[in-house]
């Protein structure tokens, strides 16, 4: 059984069809790239998968369960986590708290222990803190644990977003332009990091990215969206040679000019 099965997924905002008959099947452990020009509907796919939007039609089945009608926080608990195109950390909270909040999906306790500080409180708090520190250690962010998240350098903020997403113990990770604003060296490091977390955390990953070097070197399969429709799907090599993809990115006339 596929981990994720998206069938004929459509999202319309009034008359504007942001996504049209999107189809995707993913097996566990796959790393799929989602590319397309700005406004093609890539982030809409993520918003539908995470429950921020409800589909106009079509279905999303994750581990055999339909995701339609579920709230975002319920979907997170089922094992889908994401990062954001424009960083959305809890800026005024410490780096440690950012990760702790996410990890509370996995370990938590009731209100009574919180108010009265009875034993489960201390035990669970220690568990949450240790797990968060361990993750920060892995991602080399432990030295910032007590800094405010908004004071971190840009690249570290991006890494913290990934760390925070992983703290929810996801099975499917959605990365929305993780390399945006990074220089080639940072992008290269990110590539290694993504490969490594997939194996280490046993993840299935969907990646939205404009940086083609990252997509082409990382993904086994690439999907191309244009004006809300899937126009191509295949290995990076196939995609690079697909005339419809070149047309979508460069426009008709340029292609003609190239061919001359």
């Amino acid at each position: 059984m596929a981990l994720l099965a998206v069938n004929k997924l459509t999202k319309a905002f009034g008359g504007l069809v942001a996504l049209n008959n999107f189809v995707l099947e993913m097996e566990k452990g796959e790393l799929v790239g989602l590319i397309g020009p700005n406004g093609a509907g890539k982030t809409t796919v993520f918003n539908l998968l995470t429950g921020l939007y409800q589909p106009t039609s079509g279905s999303i089945v994750f581990e055999g369960r339909d995701l339609r009608g579920r709230h975002p926080h319920q979907i997170t608990k089922m094992g889908i986590a994401r990062t954001f195109q424009n960083i959305r950390l809890f800026g005024n909270l410490s780096v440690l708290d950012n990760v702790k909040i996410a990890h509370q999906v996995v370990i938590n306790y009731g209100l009574i222990p919180a108010f009265l500080r009875v034993p489960p409180f201390y035990r669970r708090e220690a568990e949450i803190e240790n797990a968060a520190l361990e993750l920060l250690e892995i991602f080399d962010l432990k030295k910032y644990a007590h800094e405010k998240a908004k004071n971190l350098p840009y690249g570290e903020q991006r890494r913290l977003e990934i760390t925070r997403a992983l703290a929810t113990k996801p099975k499917l990770l959605l990365l929305d332009e993780p390399a945006a604003g990074m220089n080639p060296q940072e992008t290269h490091d990110l590539l290694e990091l993504i490969k490594w977390i997939r194996d280490e955390f046993d993840l299935t990953i969907i990646l939205i990215e404009h940086d083609m070097s990252l997509v082409m070197n990382l993904c086994e399969r690439v999907l191309v969206l244009d004006y809300g429709s899937l126009i191509a799907e295949g290995t990076p090599q196939e995609i690079q040679q697909n005339p419809r993809v070149i047309e979508a990115y460069l426009g008709d006339e340029e292609v003609a000019a190239w061919e001359e």
Partner: protein
């Protein structure tokens, strides 16, 4: 040992303060006028801290605090004055009634954001006031009289300490962190598995029930309740305390409540200018210290801990010898 040291110091300071004030009241050293103001400081601390939980920590701008206080005050007064039932029951009923009102108001209005929530909760406060004015059973506009005087220094003291302790425990727990994440970025909070509606309503209900407690104390100190006391100006007073102290700082709320209540006591002589000075204070603090006196910081125990570390060190070395 170090961990407990600051707790012990705080308990000692509080105990000394409690006993000193009690002796002061008994001996007549603290005059009746200042006893009244002392109790008012206590009630205002509870109001400010509970409003801060909603506005400062969860980031939902509510202006309905006078309404919740009125619900607590009137429902508890019905228990003692109209029905003649014991005071402890009145405390429970007052807090519960305010909490349930908070739930009923919170569920629909917390879908609103920012200004809209402020207007909706402001409207709620006014509705409570007008409704109370038109119910003869609670005295209508002329007020509810004959409420037994139950409030004394120990009751005020322990109510304040317990309220602050409950709010502190809540904030420094996973649930409190969830509320903070809602304030920081509600979209990201949802994606991290936080049920944002639940936490918004929860903070609102806890805040409302504590405002209800403040209302119970108010009713059973003054023994007379009039709907016009619970106007928007009351919410405004509390808001000033929270803003001056610092949105998102619990100790800030305590400082704000103490400062504003005492300032207001001194300004009793010139009531015409009181609101002008208030407004000026708010403008000044917004211009020069928009984050409030304490910002988001707490009056830290680090100083105490450092002190504790030094003392511990000497005690420890003595033991070693």
């Amino acid at each position: 040992m170090k961990k407990y040291f600051s707790t012990i110091i705080i308990c000692l300071v509080l105990a000394v303060f409690f006993v000193a004030v009690q002796l002061g009241i008994n001996s007549g050293f603290i005059s009746g006028y200042w006893v009244t103001n002392l109790y008012l400081v206590g009630i205002n601390i509870i109001l400010a801290a509970s409003l801060n939980l909603i506005n400062g920590f969860t980031g939902e701008f509510s202006l309905g605090h006078a309404g919740f206080m009125a619900v607590g005050a009137y429902s508890s007064a019905i228990i003692t004055a109209n029905l003649g039932l014991p005071f402890p029951l009145a405390v429970i009923v007052g807090m519960l009634a305010a909490a349930i009102t908070g739930l009923l108001v919170g569920l629909p209005t917390l879908r609103l954001r920012g200004d809209y929530l402020a207007i909706a909760t402001l409207g709620f406060g006014e509705i409570v006031r007008v409704v109370l004015m038109n119910i003869d059973y609670v005295g209508g506009a002329s007020g509810l009289m004959g409420i037994p005087a139950m409030v004394n220094w120990p009751l005020i003291f322990f109510s304040v300490v317990l309220s602050l302790l409950l709010i502190r425990n809540f904030i420094c727990s996973s649930h409190g962190r969830a509320c903070l994440s809602v304030r920081e970025n509600d979209l990201a909070a949802q994606m991290m598995g936080v049920n944002i509606t639940y936490y918004k309503v929860l903070a609102f209900v806890i805040g409302a029930s504590l405002a209800g407690l403040a209302g119970v104390l108010y009713a059973h100190y003054y023994t007379v309740l009039q709907p016009r006391e619970f106007s928007f100006m009351l919410t405004f007073d509390v808001l000033v305390m929270v803003m001056v102290g610092g949105l998102g700082s619990l100790t800030g709320s305590v400082v704000g409540a103490v400062l504003i209540t005492i300032a207001s006591a001194f300004l009793q002589a010139i009531p015409e200018l009181r609101m002008v000075i208030y407004a000026a204070l708010l403008i000044l603090s917004a211009v020069f210290r928009p984050q409030g006196l304490l910002g988001e910081k707490e009056v830290s125990l680090k100083i105490l801990q450092k002190l504790g570390g030094v003392l511990n060190g000497t005690v420890g070395s003595k033991q070693a010898h």
